[in-house]
């Protein structure tokens, strides 16, 4: 099915597309985020879904309160060590094709509150993050650009073959270990299966 034939057919009013494209097109344009604001970034997320910046142009303005009906978790704000088990438990309870957007410097790496004793230095210690939106808080336009980036990511997902996304592979886990609140810190401090710290050598 080369391009010339396809354009010829489309001129006759016949649309020929792959099932994969249709499947991804449908999912990409109806991402339902989980109504789950943590801090200041949540206000910018709400402002992005309001009339002026209008997240509903991308089909993502339905903020579902319960994780069972959401397929996109926007971690908007500082994840504290007291809140981390809840965030991971909510992620576990979401149905399978689910994505995580780490919105704001706090969710990405602890942000301005990095030296806090009760602040988790980034949600990618416990959850696989798909899109990072830097900023403190990122402006609503940045939130929309982050969402469009996620839509491109979904667009490129394969249905078959080794390049399949995580949720289509049998062996890949769909939920992750929930940390427990220990005596001095979260136990375990990070999820080794998910978190890939950057390898450095301290040169003397």
């Amino acid at each position: 099915m080369d391009e010339r034939l396809r354009s010829e057919l489309s001129r006759q009013g016949v649309v020929a597309i792959k099932l994969e494209t249709l499947y991804n097109w449908g999912r990409k344009n109806s991402l339902w985020p989980l109504g789950f604001g943590l801090a200041c970034c949540a206000i910018e997320m709400i402002a992005a879904s309001m009339a002026r910046f209008d997240l509903s142009r991308f089909g993502a303005e339905v903020f579902r309160p319960s994780p069972r009906q959401a397929d996109l978790m926007i971690v908007a704000g500082t994840v504290t060590k007291k809140m981390a088990p809840q965030v991971v438990r909510l992620y576990n309870q979401m149905p399978e094709p689910k994505y995580v957007i780490a919105m704001g410097a706090c969710a990405i790496s602890g942000g301005p509150f990095k030296q806090g004793y009760n602040v988790l230095k980034g949600i990618d210690r416990y959850l696989p993050v798909d899109v990072h939106i830097p900023g403190c808080p990122p402006k609503p336009e940045a939130v929309i650009q982050g969402l469009m980036l996620l839509q491109d990511l979904i667009d490129g997902q394969k249905l078959t073959g080794p390049g399949r996304p995580r949720f289509l592979k049998k062996g890949e886990p769909s939920d992750f270990e929930v940390p427990i609140e220990g005596a001095h810190d979260l136990v375990p401090p990070y999820n080794a299966a998910v978190w890939r710290p950057c390898k450095i050598t301290i040169d003397e």
């Binding site: 319960s66 994780p67 069972r68 088990p85 809840q86 965030v87 438990r89 909510l90 576990n92 309870q93 399978e96 094709p97 249905l159 078959t160 949720f167 289509l168 592979k169 049998k170 886990p173 769909s174 939920d175 929930v178």
Partner: protein, 126 residues
């Protein structure tokens, strides 16, 4: 004669088959799709009870108050009543006055039950 009746019955069965298959095919497709493409991965963490992000403590099988049961019964009674009223409403014009009186008795009987429950104070929450 029977052929024409047999004929209309066949006509009905075709419609029945189409209706049933129209509802079953998407479910079948979804099942095939799940088996072929996205494997199911049930796990205890995923099926945990959702309680605002917290771990749910205690089990849900506790003895409930009888008050809830009374509300449920009253709702059920009036739900069933509305089922009877629907065909009555559809065939209202062709019905003789006797049927209207019968339905009136039926409705008033239930209404009297509600008034009694209200007077007895079952409805307001103690």
């Amino acid at each position: 004669m029977t052929g024409s009746i047999g004929h209309t019955l066949q006509f009905l069965t075709v419609f029945l088959v189409i209706a049933v298959s129209f509802s079953l095919i998407p479910i079948l497709l979804a099942r095939i799709w799940a088996k072929a493409f996205s494997p199911a991965k049930p796990s205890s963490r995923k099926n945990a009870i959702y309680e605002c992000g917290l771990e749910s403590k205690g089990d849900a099988w506790i003895q409930y108050q009888s008050q809830y049961y009374v509300y449920a019964i009253l709702f059920l009674v009036f739900d069933v009543e509305s089922i009877f009223l629907i065909p009555f409403g559809v065939a209202f014009l062709e019905l003789p006055p006797g049927a209207v009186v019968a339905m009136l008795v039926f409705v008033l009987l239930l209404f009297e039950g509600l008034v009694w429950a209200w007077m007895k104070g079952v409805l307001n929450w103690k």
